[in-house]
């Protein structure tokens, strides 16, 4: 077959970046975490900062993120990644420091650390994966769970009257003077993934400017927690998550 001749290093247009290790990801099939990991790793690769990057892993599904990024990584206590990243950045101000956190980590137990790190304007990148649920522990309701959304601890759907409102923490940190670039993206479709990668790249580059915290939210799916196939969960996310968590830049630097 003639097309087999195309499989040649000269024709290569896309392969797994070497900033990701060869370890098989433990995530469920179709989980957005894997895509988000890869896009961030590609950004680190393209900027040529593999040796200068230090990541902080959270507690949650992505607790094992340090296995997958071939950069220096530090595990933080639940929710405390921005505080740990603050310390790392202050000791190594020339390094690129990022945290990678889910919504249970960043928007629930770590709310105080997140808000204060962003308010202090720590010069770090916060990557926030929002799938509206506690994935690792079995799909319990998170602060970001949508009104009416079913989870294992809200089996009849989240009742706002008794369970409160979902927390739009990204809009919240955008109001703080310490944040420099705040955006919300998704990685479920090719166009969205490319946009998310551009946003991550911009956010990583802004770290050189020393202007404040960059905050990138990635609205993601949880096929296992939502009890759907990956394709169904992506569709459900488009129909239900995006109206509540609209995609796009929330705070952009003034001169851009």
């Amino acid at each position: 077959m003639a097309e087999n001749n195309l499989v040649h290093p000269d024709n290569l247009v896309y392969e797994k970046t070497s900033v990701m290790t060869d370890r098989v990801l433990h995530y469920c099939p179709g989980c957005g975490h894997g895509t988000a990991h890869r896009l961030l790793a590609e950004v680190i690769d393209e900027l040529g900062i593999q040796g200068e990057t230090i990541g902080v892993a959270p507690v949650g599904c992505s607790v094992l993120a340090y296995y997958y990024f071939d950069v220096d990584m530090q595990e933080a206590a639940h929710g405390r990644a921005p505080a740990v990243a603050t310390g790392i950045k202050r000791v190594f101000p020339e390094k690129f420091v990022f945290t990678y956190q889910g919504d249970g980590d960043l928007a629930a137990i770590g709310t105080a650390e997140t808000i204060h790190a962003c308010n202090r304007g720590e010069n770090i990148l916060v990557v926030f994966i929002n799938n509206g649920i506690y994935g690792m522990t079995g799909g319990q309701m998170a602060p970001t769970t949508l009104p009416g959304m079913k989870s294992s601890t809200s089996p009849r759907g989240r009742d706002v009257a008794t369970m409160g409102n979902p927390l739009k923490i990204t809009e919240l940190v955008a109001e703080l003077p310490g944040t420099y670039f705040v955006t919300r993206q998704s990685v479920h479709a090719p166009a969205n993934a490319r946009k998310a990668k551009r946003a991550l790249k911009k956010a990583m580059e802004y770290q050189k400017l020393n202007k404040g915290t960059c905050f990138v939210e990635i609205v993601s799916n949880c096929p296992s927690g939502w009890k759907m196939t990956p394709a169904q969960s992506n569709k459900w996310m488009e129909e239900n998550m995006f109206p509540y968590y609209p995609l796009g830049d929330i705070k952009v630097p003034e001169n851009q």
Binding site: L6, E15, C31, P190
Partner: protein, 76 residues
């Protein structure tokens, strides 16, 4: 005419999530009838309409897809 492309799928790492199937604009990919050693039906190429756009690879959560594309022919 669109450039020709090809994909190579690491079937042992594929988890059969089908995200690449919906991302492909030319329906090049489908799930296999066979399973890999973990028991997942893996993604495979079923026709030669691939243009090497890399849409499948950029949404693959497990980074199993490598994409090749023929070089653009310069017009004389």
């Amino acid at each position: 005419m669109a450039r020709k492309g090809d994909v190579v799928i690491n079937i042992e790492r594929c988890k059969g999530c089908e995200v690449c199937l919906t991302a492909c604009p030319h329906e090049v990919l489908a799930l296999s009838n066979e399973v890999n050693s973990k028991g997942y039906h893996y993604a495979m190429k079923v026709n030669s309409a691939c243009t090497g756009c890399a849409n499948c690879a950029i949404v693959c959560p497990d980074a199993v897809i490598t994409v090749y594309r023929e070089k653009a022919v310069k017009k004389a």
